[in-house]
């Protein structure tokens, strides 16, 4: 089972910083990154967001590095396609593959570099939100943003069940594994549907249990939200404003920079 980033978010050093402020910082950085027309600003965002997450929020560096490999394969493959599809400028190199020749030009290289930079800037900003802001804090913000109550309630219940079902899935997966359920492809193909099916049946039972549990406490269509918090400190608000302004300025000033 993969790491659930939310578990880290509950222990990070920025846990008690105001939720909205963290969302504005992460979300603002994402937007500045994709609006930037040059790769410098997204790269600046990637590096600074990674630094904030690792040094200020104290997320283990090695873990952060492994996280970055998740977008890597997608980004590199897709940027590779862009490199050979788009054009403009002079030809950088040509690669004969089979009957066709793949050509990379300065224009396409610039475009690929920009997309790569944006992806990393975006992912680092997303990691910042994911690793510093527990989902439970975001629910209150969702409600404050006037998202429909049914939607937020459903999201909260799904949150609860995800952790419950992950526990069940891991237990069943382990039980299968010790009986050689994942030794080889054929065994896996037999085991996985059993796992999924058993999990579905169990999930359904849990859902029915929950109906009982909610009724026992007089469920009347309402879910509580914990809306405490002192609001952001002026200093941190100013810090976020300065950071976003700086990132924006860099994006404007370096928008025309083309590395190739």
């Amino acid at each position: 089972m993969e790491n659930i980033l939310d578990d880290y978010a509950h222990q990070n050093a920025l846990r008690d910083v105001d939720t909205r402020l963290k969302l504005v910082l992460g979300g603002g950085a994402i937007i500045v990154g994709i609006l930037s027309t040059g790769p410098v600003a997204p790269l600046f965002i990637a590096v600074s967001m990674a630094a904030i997450t690792v040094f200020l929020a104290r997320i283990p560096g090695r873990f952060y590095a492994t996280l970055l490999t998740i977008p890597l394969s997608f980004a590199v493959l897709s940027a590779g396609v862009i490199l050979f599809l788009q054009g403009g400028g002079e030809t950088l190199f040509a690669l004969p593959v089979g009957g066709i020749t793949l050509t990379a030009t300065t224009g396409s290289a610039d475009q690929a570099a920009l997309v790569l930079a944006r992806t990393f800037g975006g992912m680092c900003s997303l990691f910042f939100i994911a690793l510093t802001t527990p989902m439970v804090e975001i629910f209150a913000v969702m409600r404050a943003l006037r998202l429909p109550a049914e939607f937020v309630d459903l999201a909260m219940l799904i949150y609860h069940f995800i952790f419950m079902l992950i526990g069940e899935a891991v237990a069943t997966h382990n039980a299968q594994e010790i009986r050689h359920g994942y030794a080889g492809f054929r065994n896996s193909l037999r085991s996985f549907p059993m796992l999924a099916g058993a999990l579905f049946v169990r999930a359904w039972e849990k859902g029915e249990d929950l109906i009982l549990a909610m009724d026992a406490r007089c469920y009347d269509g309402k879910f509580a939200l914990d809306e405490r918090g002192d609001g952001p400190s002026p200093l941190s608000t100013a810090g976020v404003a300065v950071y976003l302004a700086a990132a924006g300025a860099i994006a404007l000033l370096t928008g025309g920079v083309q590395p190739f």
Binding site: V136, H160, F163, D209, L210, R217, C218, D220, F223, A224
Partner: protein
């Protein structure tokens, strides 16, 4: 004294199954500590689910505070507010993202005001000793902590009667003891406490009254001493007597005790054995003295 909960000839069958309750007549006095004891499958959980109208008897009636339970939405709300039910599996009971939200669920749905809710939640968390955990998600808590939060969620609705299904199941001994101490405290504050268990040691130490169940019937309702000294009855319910009771009975059978009240704890038992041995020692000394006299 008033009866907090009364079952009158209660029958129940899940659809397409044989009856799981076959005529239960039990009354739980207000302010008492009652343990439903029996093996798994005896119908304990089914009976508990009737205390607040979660299940409806197929025959017979349930009374809460002297009033028969009605099964319309409005009456059910009333009953569920009066009778708080804590399930065996805390994971099934804690469904909100944070401890605070979970405990606030009942009060909010009862239509309390924001300030009232805050107060009720704080008080409930304080009662179970879980202040400071408000913003934690339940899935990061230990088994004992989850149980406490589950209890707080019920306490926040200020019930008069508390019902627990196997409150110590899957807890280790120290944690189980803490939970039982908490139940004692809640009872001291005036609440009736009814629980189910198959742990005879726990029931023997803790309960004022024991209801022994087996295959959907009540075998006996009485004091822990009466019930747990009846080996044949316990055997019928596939249970063994508590350890001290077992030793007491063995020693009684061998004629070493007679007529003493069975001890309820290791300490009481020790006192009993000591008095037995001490008594002998005293006689012994008498004998010795008489020898000296005779010489």
């Amino acid at each position: 004294m008033r009866e907090a909960i009364e079952f009158q000839d209660v029958h129940f069958a899940y659809p397409n199954r044989p009856e799981s309750l076959r005529g239960i007549d039990v009354a739980v006095r207000e302010g008492s500590k009652v343990a439903l004891v029996g093996p798994n499958g005896a119908g304990k959980t089914t009976l508990l689910l009737m205390c607040n109208g979660m299940l409806r008897p197929t025959r017979g009636a349930v009374r809460v505070g002297g009033v028969p339970v009605h099964y319309d939405a409005r009456s059910l709300r009333e009953v569920r507010r009066k009778v708080g039910l804590v399930f065996q599996n805390s994971d099934a009971q804690l469904f909100a993202p944070t401890v605070w939200q979970d405990v606030a669920f009942g009060p909010l749905n009862l239509g309390m005001e924001k300030d009232e809710i805050k107060e009720a939640v704080d008080r409930a968390l304080h009662q179970v000793g879980m202040n400071g955990y408000e913003r934690r998600p339940p899935h990061h808590l230990s088994g004992g902590e989850k149980k406490r939060v589950a209890i707080a969620g019920v306490l926040a609705m200020e019930p008069e009667v508390l019902v627990f299904d196997e409150p110590t199941s899957a807890l280790d001994p120290a944690t189980a003891e803490e939970v039982m101490d908490l139940l004692d405290e809640l009872n001291h504050e005036g609440r009736t406490v009814l629980l189910s268990t198959h742990d005879v040691e726990l029931a023997y130490r803790w309960a004022d009254e024991v209801v022994l169940m087996e295959s959907g019937t009540v075998l006996r309702h009485g004091s822990p001493e009466t019930i747990f000294s009846d080996t044949a009855l316990l055997h019928q319910a596939r249970l063994k007597p508590p350890a001290v009771m077992d030793l007491y009975r063995e020693l009684s059978d061998r004629g070493l005790f007679n007529g003493e009240k069975p001890p309820r704890s290791a300490l009481a038992f020790t006192d009993l054995v000591e008095s037995l041995a001490g008594g002998r020692r005293y006689q012994d000394r008498c004998g010795t003295i008489s020898i000296w006299d005779a010489a």
